[in-house]
Subunit: 249 residues, 2 copies
């Protein structure tokens, strides 16, 4: 058993201009980590047909799962569905199942042509339900096309993650220590080299005094425990036993 | 005069695992927009030598400017400087100018081998000063290598942006209106089609009632004003004159 891989594509001029801060990549990263899927990269790209098509093609060929956020609403700048369809060479049109969802949601007469654009679903795609505002996302090939509005993205993702084949869980053990990185870097590098099956990261902190958060990650619980003990021993040698630990769940 | 283009590369396993939420892309996006440089894409990638080399090569060939954040500290997982050097085929070693900065900062004896790693600067690079914790970033070719810690990234960026050749400013005019996207999508699409030199985006909001924020963007102030008036007229036709506008500075 290994870990399936994934990539995120955030689609939106408003993110690249700095108007909006992307929130969806972070939610996806946490949710995938929790089920043992490895997010390998995330990209923010423009509302540009050619860029969406090229990025979807590249990443869907490279990773097990791809997730997109943004560009599936009713307005002219919502071009993601058509671009993803093009990326797979799939025809796209208003589909009866998606249309039925919108018909049930909108009052009589309110389902105009613009809103019907949200029922444009590529042939061969399965719908991703939207409990917030009904207009569905979809899954085509290995690409999950979801909304950009954070509350809707999160709701859609909550229905998608149970359908994914999870992999080995990456267990993470954090140790916060009041030693600056420069003082522990050499022995920490030796610990990392001695435990190649465990990824060890070091992140400086500045609040409440200078220090480092050392994070050991592995899919192997026993190997993780051995590496964590080696980090504790290293801190003791450096004269510090006051460690704040956050073990894996 | 046009707009120079740019890309961001966020380097860090901790971002892909969801442990840390990237803050630097958003800061860069806003700062570049403010000087007329167009951020075309942003990527988050792992602490992986080959992935960093490949991404730096691809994006530095594609855009006028590239910015990286993360991986330039003293610990074993800080591999960005060497990877960027490799991407350009540049030799890298401890450089006297960077070493002198660290020697002036650290107390006698504290500048150990690990900290000296932060003086590893590729041949041909210019330093990017770090007013927070001194260890410098650098610019090699068109790639600006900066720290991942948000306060340091922002401080480094503040010294870099004045050195960039800015381009035409993208002016942005936002109009917040209490109409759902589905009701204005058709006429808004017509406005967008009639004003091809102005980018028009629509973003739904849910707080304080359902509505849409319509954002018109252009480097041409006169064209922007005409498109904005067309949006106002459209809203009036739809029966709404209560608009909250945020004009360009």
């Amino acid at each position: 058993m290994t870990q399936p891989t994934a990539a995120m594509i955030v689609i939106g001029d408003e993110v690249l201009s700095g108007r909006t801060r992307d929130a969806n990549s972070w939610v996806l990263a946490k949710d995938l980590t929790a089920i043992g899927v490895a997010l390998r990269e995330a990209r923010v790209i423009a509302d540009d047909h050619a860029q969406i098509v090229a990025t979807v093609r590249e990443l869907s060929g490279k990773y097990d799962h791809v997730f997109t956020s943004g560009g599936i609403g009713p307005t002219h700048d919502d071009i993601t569905a058509d671009a993803v369809a093009d990326a797979f060479g799939a025809p796209i049109d208003i589909r009866p199942d998606a249309r039925a969802i919108l018909e049930a949601y909108y009052e009589l007469g309110a389902l105009n042509d613009a809103r019907l654009r949200m029922a444009r679903i590529p042939d061969g795609a399965s719908l991703i339900l939207n409990p917030v505002s009904q207009a569905p996302g979809f899954k085509l090939g290995n690409v999950h096309v979801m909304a950009g509005v954070p509350a809707i993205f999160a709701a859609m993702l909550a229905s998608v993650t149970p359908t994914l084949q999870g992999g080995l869980m990456t267990l993470s053990h954090a140790i916060r220590v009041a030693l600056p990185e420069g003082e522990l870097a050499a022995p920490l590098g030796a610990v990392a080299a001695a435990h190649p099956g465990v990824g060890i990261g070091s992140y400086p902190f500045y609040r409440g005094g200078l220090g480092s958060t050392l994070v050991a990650r592995s899919t192997d619980r026993a190997a993780l425990a051995v590496a964590v003990q080696a980090i504790r021993d290293m801190c003791a040698v450096l004269g510090t036993t006051d460690l704040q630990e956050t073990p894996p769940d």
